[in-house]
Structure formats: C-alpha cells, structure tokens
C-alpha cells in the first residue's frame, strides 16, 4: 500500500513537469502556431532557472528568469513563423537544437552543483489529513499546487472570455477572424510567447524543484512527449490533467517494476516513457476524435494576401 502511495505521489510530482509544458503548448497551438521547440525551451528554462536559483538563492527570481527566457524563445519562434513566414516544423526543430546547444554551452559551469535552497513541500492543513488522497495530493510544493489550478484558469480564459474566443478563432479561421476585427498576428505572437513562458517554467520546475540539479539534456525527450500529450488532451486544458498525471503514473510504475518482482532488464525501463507516449497516441487515433484540432494549425497566415 505504501508502495502504491509513493508511486502515486511521485506521479503527481513528475506529471507536473509535463503539465506546465502541455498547457503552454496548448495555448500556442490553439492560436494556430505549432511550436516543436518545446524540448529546447524546457532546457533553457531548466538551465536559467537552476543558474538563478544557485547564484541568487532566490526561488522567485529563478522562476521569473525561466519564464522570461521561455517567453523570449517563444518570441524567436513567433518572429520566424509569423513575421518571416518560416516553416513551423523546421523553425521548431531549430529552436530545439538551439535550446539544447545553448543550455549545454552555458550550463557547463553548473554541472554537479547543488542548490542551497529549493521548493519545500507545504502540507495544506486539514486537506492533508484525508486518508490516502491527502498524502498523495496535498503535501507538495507551491508549484505543484499552482499546476492544480492553472488548467482551470486557462480553460476559463479559452471558453468564457473574449480573449479566448479571439485566440481560438485565430487558430481556426484566421482570415475570417481578421475580417471580424481580430488582430490575428498580435494574438499569435502573444500566444506563442505566453506558451513559451509556461514551457520555460516547466523546465525550471524540473531542475529547481523536481531533480534539484542541472544535467545537460536533462529533459530527455519530455518536450516531445508534451507535444504528443497535447494531441492526447484534444487541445483541452482540462484533459491535460489526465494526460500529464496518467503519464507520470505510468512512467513511475515502469520505473518501479522491480519492486513488484517483475523481471525486466532495468536499463530498458528507460524506454517506457517513449513507448507509453506512442501507445497513448495509438489509443487516441483508434478511439478518440480529434475534434479540437485547430484547423489552421501549422499554416502560415499572410495578412497582406487579403488584398
């Protein structure tokens, strides 16, 4: 029993990494921009977050720094794909390469360093006394709690505000939206930057709060898993909870297989996240509908082409 509670607790903690990034990518993709640079943005966020946490010992600065660097990376992608009309797939790949290389380049000095301060678990009074659930859900650090409410906020903005409507219509019918008076270009810029901010924060959560150290290439494909989870979540921030935590749970289960005396080469367990992601995608392409796929996703939008 305690084993299962430990695994579920770890599932929430590791699912949070992907949850932030998934929410960020959903915001960006809903506006019609496909950002395949998640892996690179996460790494930049992870490095700058760790660097600031190490050198200033201020956790707030670490998170803000990671958010800013994430936003800047988003800005690069927005400039490339919106203003310069570049192919979104290639720009995203270039961003991943840049983030991987630059974080490793600057990160050399941070390898092997340990943090003096980190995010401490803050048990929520009363709620943490609930048997089992309290232990699993309400004894985490502040970033995990914020991840509990973030998808709800984003869902609310998407579906109950005029900004959300403008964002979604930019991703569906950019030309008609423009005629209706929506500034598609501005909205796409903002969505790509804000998306980058949350992806940057997910990186900082990974290095500062989760693993508490910086390792070159430490995201190990989590950015790509995020892109798959966005599809799994049908671009809906509320389903992203399910995707991220389910994914976190399965990964933890995979990593803990030996505990249950299941003979499997330990080294191959490293593959479980990627295989699970592929199975997730397979599952939804057999079962689910991708009803929320933004119609204009990945296509360049050309304001001048209007006339």
């Amino acid at each position: 029993m305690t084993d299962i509670i430990t695994i579920l607790y770890a599932a929430i903690a590791s699912g949070t990494i992907i949850l932030y990034a998934t929410i960020g990518e959903i915001i960006t993709e809903r506006s019609g921009i496909l950002n395949l640079g998640v892996e690179g943005i996460m790494l930049m966020g992870a490095f700058f977050g760790f660097y600031l946490a190490y050198s200033t010992e201020s956790l707030l600065l670490a998170i803000i720094g990671a958010a800013v660097i994430g936003g800047l990376m988003g800005l690069i992608h927005a400039f490339m794909t919106i203003t310069l009309q570049a192919n979104q797939v290639v720009s995203g790949l270039a961003l991943t390469m840049f983030g991987t290389g630059a974080s490793a380049f600057f990160g050399v000095s941070m390898v092997g360093k340990t943090l003096k301060t980190s995010f401490e678990a803050i048990p929520i009074p009363l709620l943490n006394k609930i048997p089992v659930l309290g232990e699993i859900l309400f004894d985490h650090n502040i970033l995990v709690y914020f991840a509990f409410v973030l998808p709800v906020i984003v869902w609310f903005v998407f579906n109950r505000t005029k900004w959300g409507l403008a964002l979604r219509s930019s991703g569906e019918e950019p030309l008609s939206s423009e005629i209706m008076g929506i500034k598609v270009i501005k909205i796409r810029y903002i969505a790509t930057i804000v998306g980058g901010v949350f992806i940057g924060i997910s990186g900082a959560y990974l290095s500062v709060a989760y693993s508490k150290l910086w390792v070159e290439g430490m995201t190990a494909g989590k950015g790509w898993i995020t892109i798959a989870l966005v599809i799994f979540a049908n671009w809906n921030p509320l389903i992203a909870y399910g995707g991220a935590y389910l994914f976190g749970g399965l990964t933890q289960l995979g990593l803990n297989l030996q505990k249950f005396n299941i003979p499997f080469p330990i080294i191959l367990l490293k593959s479980t996240p990627y295989v699970f992601t592929l199975l997730f995608l397979l599952f939804i392409s057999i079962k689910g509908k991708r009803s929320n796929l933004p119609k204009a996703l990945g296509e360049s939008y050309f304001r001048e082409s209007r006339g």
Partner: protein
Amino acid sequence: MLKIKTLIVGLLKKIAHFFHNIYCYFKSLRIKLEQKERVSKREELIITLSAIGIAFVLSGIFIALNGVNPFVALWKVIVSALGSPYGISETLVKAIPLIFTGLAVAIALNSKLWNIGAEGQLFFGATLATAFIIYGPVLPKPLEITVLIALGAIGGALWAGIPAILKIKFKMNEVISTLLLNYVAINIADYFLFGPWKGKDNFPYTPEFPPEAKFSRIGFGRVHAGLILALVLVVLLYILIYHTKTGYKLRMTGSSLKAAKYAGINIKKMMFMVFLLSGALAGLAGVSQICGIEYKLHQHISTGYGYTGIIVAWLARTNPFIIVIFAIFLSILLKGADSLQIAMRLPASVGVVMQALILFAILGSELFKNYNVKLIRGK
C-alpha cells in the same frame, strides 16, 4: 526653484515626446511583400550566402560571450578543417555519415514526409550489423561487408517501418513518432552495450571488429570506402528521382497529394516505400560509422548526425548532388567545433548552437527569396 521644476518637466515632456515619435514611427511601419515573378539562381545564392554570414556573426557573438575572440575562433575552424591534408581528410570522414542521413531526410522530405528519426535508425542499423559480427560466422571480407551493409540498411528500414505503419494505418504524426523512437533505439543499443556486449574492462563498448568487417581505406587519411558507397547512392538516387517512373510518382506525391490521387498513384504504398528507403539510408550511416571509423559499437558512434542530416536536407532540398556539398559544409563546421573544444576549451555544444543558428538564418532568408520585402510607412 519653480523655474527649475518647469524646466525639468519640460525636458521630460520633450524626452517623452521624442520616444513617442520613435514609437509612432515604428508602429506606422508596415512590411510590404511583393511576390517575385522569377528568382534567379544568382540572387538565391547571394541570399543563402548572406544568411550563412549572419549565422556566423551570431555564432561569433555566442563565442565572444565565452571570452574567446570570435575572429580567432573562425580562423581556427577554417584552418583545422581545411588547412592541412589531415584536416581535410578528417572533415571528409565526418561528411560521410552526413551524406547518408542528409539523403535519408531529403528523400522523405521530397514526398512531404518528415523523418526526424535518422538518429535512431542509424543506431538500430548499427546494432543489427554488430549483432551479426558478434553472433554470426566470420565470412570472407567481400561477403562479410555485403552482409553488414545489407543488415544496416534492413535495420534502419525496420526502425523506420514502425512510424510508417503508425502514420499510414493510424494517421499518427510522423514527426513525433520518429523522434520518440530515437530514444528507444539508442536505449536498445545501450542495453546490449551495458549487458551482453560489454567490453572485458566493463566499459560500454564491444570488442574490436575482425579485419573482415572493416571497410578499406581509400588512401587519404581515415577516409574509408563508405564515401564511395555514399557517392554511388547519390548518383543512384538522382537517377531514381529524376529519371524513372517511380521517381516521377514520388515527386508528384510530394508536390500534391490530390493530383497524385487523381493520377491513380497508390499513395499509401508510396509513403511506405519512401519511409523504408529513408530508414535504410540512415541505417547505412550507422554501418559506415562502425565499420569505417570506430571498428566497434559504442554510445558515441554518432554525434547527432541524424539531426544534422535534417539541416543538410533542408538546405539542399531534393537534389542529391547538392546534398554532398552541404554535407561537406556542415562537416567543416563539426570538425571546426571539435578543434574549438580542444584548443580553446569551448564547450562541445558550440557546434550544435552554430548549426541551429545556420538553420534559423537560412529559414528566415527564404522569405527574401520569394518576395521583395519592403518597409513602408502608413497603413
């Protein structure tokens, strides 16, 4: 006193006004694009070269951030990669896998398919070939080499077959599936390297291959017969793409799915073939690395050749001959980055950063190839 106050307020107002004017000026700027009717080859070349120039300037800034004089670094890159017969031969050694992976990505791109998984296919091909060396009989050299090349190609094709089936049967996006499978393929190689194939000293590499399994050198440094294989494939693929019926179908599928459908082309079959061919080419990069250079399987047989291949393919587009040129260009960069790491103590990742900047610059320059870009004032 009052006078000073009004003076300061006046000054502040003027400054604010000044900045407001600048803001208004930039706000009133509009980018106007006019489609060019025809782009001359010369113009295209000039734009590409200036883009590469911009990428070098940006890389220089990056290098300067680490306290190294960027001009010295650039000189070092050129001298180490091209300044001596040894340097040139080592650059060519790095170009060989890039020609394979560049061809692999390009052949898929030609049919509007993304193969981001060349890295994994390279490893899987290499692993399969190594399995034969370890468990199979030692054959006479020509036969052994043929078997290894075939196994490398089959391994790469098998690994690319998974995302192919996922895309064709289940409409799964191939960018994500090919990329995720890279991690799995490398993990499988790790399993053997840390397990059954581990060296006697417990380090993760296989014993050295027998002489029968090694590619011959061609008499120029460490340059090996893999180069000849690569160049033969370049010619064969050129003929396939531009001078055969299959190639015509391939190009048609790439330019318009609808047109291809109306022409009665079996698109699914075409896609599947393209994926297998692409994977096979990437797998050959793996064999060429282990049998031509490393003579064993270990974790570092590729320094991201599968990913660099994407840049090669994007720069060269579909023409196999141009792929050779850009493969050599990028190998100069990789060789240069290696020597920067050794001589100037720059982190090895400087090469990756430079590659990314080149990709960004080329990508951004494409707008200028197809349009006349003008900044104008007013709405």
